[in-house]
Amino acid sequence: MLRLIGQRLLTTIPSIIGVIIVTFLLTRVLPGDTAAYFAGPAASPQAIIEIRSKLGLDQPLPVQFVSYVTALVKGDLGQSLTTGQPVTKDLAARLPASAELTLAGLLLAMAVALPLGVLAAVKQGSWIDHLCRVVATAGVSLPVFFTGLLLVYVFYFILGWSPAPLGRLDVFASEPPRVTGLFLIDSLLAGEWETFRAAFSQLILPALTLGIFSLAPITRMTRASMLAVLGADFVRTARASGLSGSKVIGTYAFRNAMLPVVTTLGMVFSFLLGANVLVEKVFAWPGVGSYAVEALIASDYAPIQGFVLTMAILYVALNLMIDVLYGVIDPRVRLEG
């Protein structure tokens, strides 16, 4: 198993190098002049040139690249010009927020989608199957900002059940001592129930919004993959040997059907992590997606490069986890590694 992990890690080195080069080039190709942006609208051309040379932007591209890579090796992602903070610090502060939101959304989606997909496959053509289709279609066709706003309107504005959608904690609560960066877990670790409750009530609406959106692919994949497995010979054998329905569906069919579902989960997770900018905006959630977009608008190179690189590494790590999970589920994969 360790050897397999090592091999997978080695194969990702070229793609990480590729990501570094491409993001570097892309940020330079993008329209907009960082120096001009930071000098402000009233700055003189002289001031802009000064800022440019201070930032090292007057150097030829290869020289800029070398200094970027040199800093990168030291773990330095550069300085954000908009926040004035090192990018690593910004990302470290914001990534857990995004991760917590995405994980919560994904868990919610899984809790609904997996049983729904399994039931739809087992009772093919029944009302559950139709419900599954409706839910899946509705989930993808409603844009997240719409569902998000609708939820805020209903649960905050009309019913008043949830707190104002203003970030991860309301103004009166204080952050729990940082261990994982995930407020729910940290507050539990510290035994601060009040903080846990506050964080939870802030999290529930945006997580729901994300969950509704990611229901569709998971449900559909679960249903399709269950249908395929239920038609397999070994399920027939299990039935013919008199195994109970729950054993046939749970132990025999579902575990085999998990393989494609796990792949889908990984894809959905990595997609949501970076792409839930709209949800972050609606709920004023201090995540990495909105951070990257703000940096992009400001032509702030360092955060963008840092963001893309972090996402790439996360993606690699996630795929590795999925591979390992595959090995746990399917003994045949272990052999091939």
């Binding site: 093919q124 070994f234 054998t237 040997s241 008199g242 195994l243 132990t251």
Partner: protein
């Protein structure tokens, strides 16, 4: 037969709801199985034999239902029984074993655990004793080192071993009735014999009743007390196994028997009485040029280049006699999975490599023009690897493949598609369904090689050529616009053959072309192949594990075992008077019906 049968099927009709209305798969059949009796249900695909057995254990898929009739199992009405009652009966009183044992087992669960599941379900063991009992069940089906095999996954076991596990699973709870649905289809003859002997022995030992569902009349007659012959959902004949070969009553039984290849018959004998309409051309080369003349713009040109490449002064007979394909000392090695450390591999200096696995170990043979050479052996003997090397789909590790004077083994596989020799070697594959692109019509499939390598251009010319090929292989022309799923197995086999001969190859490699077909269809396809060979002057390399078919079709035979040739010679010599012990073993493993 005992007075009260164990299983009594009366007037059973099974219906399937399809898009085109209800279809009766089984029509008002009566079958009885006595205590301790072994009954075979024989029939070709679509005869309703499997559906009957699924109806007995009530595992028909959702579209199927018992429309009429009754099934009584030691007094219990199985049609009226509740699902919970059925679940108790399945596996404990009535067990099934299936075709394709590897797929019949859960691929990601240890085989021992799968046996435990059944034992626990039927309260034949407790959590504490389950493992012990599962190992015992494995021991009973004579699996070597059962404690180790308990932890094996199906993919780690051979096909025969998997079937033993399935049998262990089925017999774990000591049922009274075993239904074996084509238990040995797809297994090698020696494995088939071992599995069948095991089933018969275990069921006799316990006084169990058995229903053997098979398409092989020979197998049925050899292992069963009574034989029930089914055709199109109806029982057409029920007879004692000892009687059925001697004195078949129903015309369908006679047709089945006739189509089953046996010793001492010719290809023609397989077919129902009337000889095929098309004439047999005595001079293959003449026939070839006659075919080519119809197509001066395309095939004719290829014919000319072909004669031009052959020495002009040689006579036809000499050309025929000279070897078309000479294989010398052919080797294919596969590296064994290495265990060298990652670091060592990175640095390019792994441990000294272990001796590679030799799938094909230095074999030499030749195929003469107009000859059919049979390549026989059990799975894993290297016969498919050999055929893949000759078609140049994979590269040999050593040796020479000389085709018509050129060492084509020296051309790398990835460049061979562009070689002028490529069109002269074609292949017919084992599974007629899987070897056709499901999105291609029959016509598109047949003209595919012409589009890639042929000289015929233009829609009309291609269509005409395709129709001609269809006629040649006996495929009704109106069917060539259909997709594979709209064709029968025999028709798909014909499409595969038409595709292979579309470029008028010199050598056709037939990789078990009839293994997936019913015997009556097989009889027709074998005769078609023989006739086409004569007409088009082709040579065949016929890869098969069915010795009876090889005997009928081949001039010479090569027997392979673990990558090496153990015996070769004319078909009569090798199969009539085998010298090698392995050949003898193969021949005795063929089921011999009582005569």
């Amino acid at each position: 037969m005992t007075a009260a049968p164990l299983l009594e099927i009366r007037n059973l009709t099974v219906e399937f709801a399809t898009r085109r209305g209800k279809v009766q798969a089984v029509k008002a059949i009566d079958i009885e199985v006595g205590k301790g009796e072994t009954v075979a249900i024989v029939g070709e695909s679509g005869s309703g034999k499997s559906v009957t057995s699924y109806a007995v254990v009530r595992i028909l898929d959702r579209a199927g239902r018992v429309a009429e009739g009754s099934i009584a199992f030691s007094g219990v009405d199985l049609v009226a029984a509740t699902e919970a009652q059925m679940r108790d009966l399945r596996g404990r009183e009535i067990s099934m074993i299936f075709q394709n044992p590897r797929a019949a087992l859960n691929p990601i669960r240890k085989v021992g655990k799968q046996i435990e599941d059944v034992l626990l379900q039927h309260v034949q063991a407790t959590r504490g004793t389950a493992k012990e009992k599962a190992v015992e069940a494995l021991t009973k089906v004579r699996i070597a080192r059962p404690e180790e095999r308990y932890d094996a996954y199906p993919f780690e076991l051979s096909g025969g071993m998997c079937q033993r596990v399935v049998i262990a699973l089925a017999l774990a709870c000591q049922p009274q009735l075993l239904i074996a649905d084509e238990p040995t289809t797809g297994l090698d003859v020696t494995t088939q014999k071992a599995v069948m002997d095991l089933i018969v022995e275990l069921t006799r030992e316990r006084g169990m009743s058995t229903i053997l569902i098979t398409h092989d009349l020979g197998l049925a007659a050899a292992y069963c007390d009574r034989v029930v012959v089914m055709e199109k959902g109806k029982v057409v004949e029920t007879a004692l196994a000892t009687e059925i070969f001697r004195n078949p009553q129903h015309p369908y039984t006679r047709k089945l028997m006739q189509a089953t290849p046996r010793v001492g018959m010719s290809l023609r004998d397989l077919l129902p009485d009337a000889p095929p309409a098309s004439s047999y051309s005595p001079h293959p080369e003449e026939a070839r040029s006659a075919v080519s003349k119809d197509h001066p713009e395309g095939a004719g040109a290829s014919f000319e280049t072909r004669t031009a490449s052959a020495p002009q002064d040689e006579g036809l007979d000499e050309m025929k006699g000279r070897a078309l394909l000479v294989v010398e000392n052919l080797v294919k090695e596969y590296p064994r999975p290495d265990t060298g450390s990652l670091f060592a591999k990175l640095m390019g200096k792994g441990e000294p490599a272990k001796a590679a696995f030799r799938a094909v170990d230095g074999i030499s043979f030749s195929v003469a023009r107009g000859e059919t050479l049979g390549l026989v052996g059990e799975s894993g003997c290297g016969k498919s690897t050999t055929s893949l090397m000759i078609t140049r789909l994979i590269d040999p590790s050593g040796g020479r493949i000389v085709f018509d004077g050129t060492d084509i083994g020296a051309i790398p596989a990835k460049h061979f598609a562009a070689s002028p020799h490529r069109r002269r070697i074609q292949m017919v594959f084992q599974d007629p369904t899987d070897s056709l692109n499901p999105r291609f019509t029959a016509e598109r499939a047949i003209v595919d090689p012409i589009l890639r390598m042929g000289a015929i251009k233009g829609r009309d010319a291609l269509r005409a050529r395709c129709e001609e090929l269809a006629k040649l292989v006996g495929l009704p022309v109106e069917l060539i616009d259909r997709f594979p799923h709209q064709l029968s197995g025999g028709q798909k086999a014909r499409v595969g053959i038409a595709r292979a001969i579309a470029l008028e190859p010199d050598l056709v490699i037939l990789d078990e072309p009839t293994a997936a077909l019913d015997v009556s269809v097989q009889a027709v396809v074998l005769n078609l192949l023989e006739e086409l060979k004569g007409r088009l002057g082709m040579s065949y390399l016929f890869v098969s594990h069915d010795l009876n078919v090889v005997r009928l079709l081949c001039d010479r035979v090569i027997v392979m075992k673990t990558g090496a040739i153990v015996e070769q010679g004319t078909a009569e010599e090798v199969l009539g008077d085998p010298k090698a012990a392995y050949t003898k073993e193969l021949l005795t493993a063929i089921p011999h019906p009582p005569t």
